[in-house]
């Protein structure tokens, strides 16, 4: 029975997921029936403040964003490891060992931060218009 109760806890997620899907899909579907339609080609243009669109937006973008994503993955996984540590921290028998472990772990984590800091990941290269190597749309 206890197992069933545990299962029921997660069953509520399903119920709420259903409610969420309804609330997300409903507002998208309803305007299809009641909102006006204009058939003008111009209204389907990409909105760029009145200018005619030049090229696609699917171009290369700055590598700096990719670096952030990489560091995030490293840090995020490391921080995730801290959650179980925080849960068993006050077990009582190996207190100082626990603290030293946490401090060492965070210290090594900080080294990664220091490394990327020194490599200049957090201060992305500054470019002005004249230095830009490629134009959007090319």
């Amino acid at each position: 029975m206890a197992g069933m109760e545990h299962f029921a806890e997660y069953g509520f997620f399903g119920a709420l997921l259903l409610a969420g899907v309804l609330l997300a899909v409903g507002p998208v579907v309803i305007p299809l029936f009641i909102s006006p339609r204009s058939r003008s080609e111009k209204s389907r243009d990409t909105y760029e403040c009145g200018m005619d669109t030049i090229g696609s937006a699917w171009v290369r973008f700055d590598l700096a964003f990719y670096l952030f994503a990489l560091i995030f993955v490293a840090f995020s996984v490391a921080v995730l490891y801290l959650f179980p540590v925080a849960l068993v921290y006050d077990d009582g028998s190996y207190l100082w060992r626990d603290f030293v472990a946490v401090a060492l772990f965070l210290g090594i984590l900080s080294l990664a931060l220091v490394y990327s800091w020194r490599r200049g990941v957090f201060s992305p290269a500054l470019r002005t218009t004249s230095q830009r190597t490629h134009r959007v749309g090319e």
């Binding site: 806890e9 997660y10 509520f12 997620f13 119920a15 709420l16 997921l17 409610a19 969420g20 899907v21 609330l23 997300a24 507002p27 998208v28 305007p31 299809l32 009641i34 909102s35 006006p36 339609r37 204009s38 209204s43 389907r44 243009d45 990409t46 909105y47 760029e48 937006a57 699917w58 973008f61 964003f65 952030f68 994503a69 995030f72 840090f75 995020s76 921080v79 801290l82 959650f83 925080a86 849960l87 921290y89 006050d90 009582g92 207190l95 626990d98 603290f99 946490v102 401090a103 965070l106 900080s110 931060l113 800091w117 957090f122 992305p124 500054l126 002005t128 218009t129 004249s130 959007v136």
Partner: protein
């Protein structure tokens, strides 16, 4: 009410199951309904407060004091044309708003809005509702009813996980639109949200360390007994980090680089119109409510009031009325008050602060907040270890909490003072100045 559940029980395999399912549907409906009704009002209040800050009347035409403006705006958006621009990735374009809204709602269900009803209180309330004590009661089949939609053990971890799913929606919305503004908004949003998520987690781990549990009810239980027991006393630096990170996570000013009207028109939602746009707008407010409620739960005692009332004696004197009041005050007065405080903070910051530059945002996130978060965690871990070594009772004493709070606060303020006293123009702004000087001297139009 027992006959009703007996009747429903024929379809669900027992009256107890019928009660559980009915309670769940009621909780979901009331909570979701309450939050969704609150959103239009929050929008009106936001516009009102901003207009007071900017010395203008603000919306005042629809309903008394313009209160119904939010509803009318929603209605208007239903009647607007849905535009699917040329050249978009259709599947992702349609999927993106859904991917933003659903996690916002899923994160809602974790927030405990009232205490767990059990023991004598459950007996009293059960007999008040005419329920069979064998079904609902301290000795019955259902011995506790939590005033939260769900109460899983992973609690806060689930909240962190589900809120980060929203990043996908915003990034995909920006990419699939095939618009330069949208693309910039989308990638900025993803970089910003993942950067601040780490600080958010570090701030939360401090609280988990003090509570020894991820379950939100356990975290609130550790803060019972007045405002001086709240986690904000033990983790004053963590709550500051959490507040800054929650502005960045919800893309609100001063961190709204994903939208940034003045530079990116609408950012990731430039190409969205009608209700598809409204979904982004709504989910932003829903996530504001969720993360405010999470902050109140983690740091400000959740549904517990600032001053503990003598509920025991009140219940002895007034019986059922006091019990009902005890379970109604938390969800209807105290938690909404705390959430409103944070919502006001969101709105006030929007009126008071300018938007950060992109590199400033990254500098703040990685070079300031992350190191502060790590140091805060080390100090907290040290404090808890010292406490455990002395008392060995598995609980962190109040004195330890205050000392941890004092040490972290002193370290934090000292570090800030050090920075401010040695403040020079940053390396970055010097580089910028040199760049523009070079450019203006080579460009005749700028040089004149």
């Amino acid at each position: 009410m027992q006959p009703l559940f007996d009747f429903l029980g024929q379809f669900t395999g027992g009256a107890g199951n019928a009660f559980v399912i009915t309670a769940a549907i009621l909780k979901i409906a009331l909570f979701l309904g309450g939050v969704l009704t609150a959103v239009p009002f929050i929008i009106v209040f936001e516009r009102k407060i901003l207009s007071w800050i900017q010395d203008r009347p603000g919306p005042n035409r629809v309903g008394p004091f313009g209160l119904l403006q939010g509803f009318m705006d929603g209605l208007k958006l239903f009647l607007k044309e849905e535009i699917m621009p040329k050249g978009v990735d259709k599947t992702l374009f349609l999927l993106a708003p859904t991917l933003v809204v659903i996690p916002a709602f899923l994160a809602l269900c974790i927030v405990p809005f009232g205490p767990i009803i059990q023991g004598e209180h459950l007996d009293a309330l059960g007999s008040f509702l005419g329920l069979d004590p064998a079904m609902v009661g301290s000795g019955g089949e259902i011995s506790q009813v939590a005033l939260a939609v769900t109460n899983p053990n992973i609690g806060i971890l689930y909240l962190l996980a589900i809120t980060s799913v929203g990043v996908y929606g915003i990034t995909l919305a920006g990419w699939s639109s095939n618009n330069k503004w949208s693309l910039l908004g989308g990638i900025r949003a993803s970089a910003q949200m993942i950067s601040y998520e780490i600080t958010l987690s570090l701030a939360v781990i401090g609280v988990v360390l003090l509570a020894g549990s991820l379950n939100l009810y356990d975290i609130i239980e550790g803060q019972r007994g007045g405002f001086w027991h709240w986690n904000v006393v033990a983790q004053p630096v963590a709550i500051l980090l959490f507040i800054v990170a929650m502005f960045a996570e919800t893309n609100r000013l001063p961190f709204d680089l994903a939208e940034a009207e003045s530079e990116l028109t609408g950012g990731f939602h430039t190409e969205y119109s009608s209700m598809r746009f409204a979904l982004f707008f709504m989910s932003e407010y829903v996530s504001m409510i969720v993360i405010s409620a999470a902050c109140a739960t983690l740091f400000l005692g959740g549904f517990f009031g600032p001053i503990p009332l003598p509920w025991e004696t009140l219940m002895e004197q007034f019986g059922l009325v006091a019990i009902l009041a005890f379970y109604i005050v938390g969800p209807l007065v105290i938690l909404p008050a705390k959430v409103s405080f944070f919502l006001f903070l969101f709105i006030f910051a929007r009126g008071a602060l300018p938007r950060l530059r992109y590199d400033q945002l990254m500098t703040l996130g990685w070079k300031y907040m992350l190191p502060i978060g790590i140091i805060n965690l080390v100090v907290t871990a040290c404090g808890v270890a010292i406490d455990m070594a002395i008392t060995r009772d598995g609980e962190v004493a109040w004195v330890t909490k205050v000392s941890i709070g004092a040490v972290t606060l002193v370290l934090f303020l000292g570090w800030e003072l050090l920075i401010f006293s040695r403040r020079r123009r940053s390396q970055l702004s010097r580089e910028y100045r040199n760049l523009y000087r070079k450019e203006s001297s080579s460009d005749p139009a700028l040089a004149s």
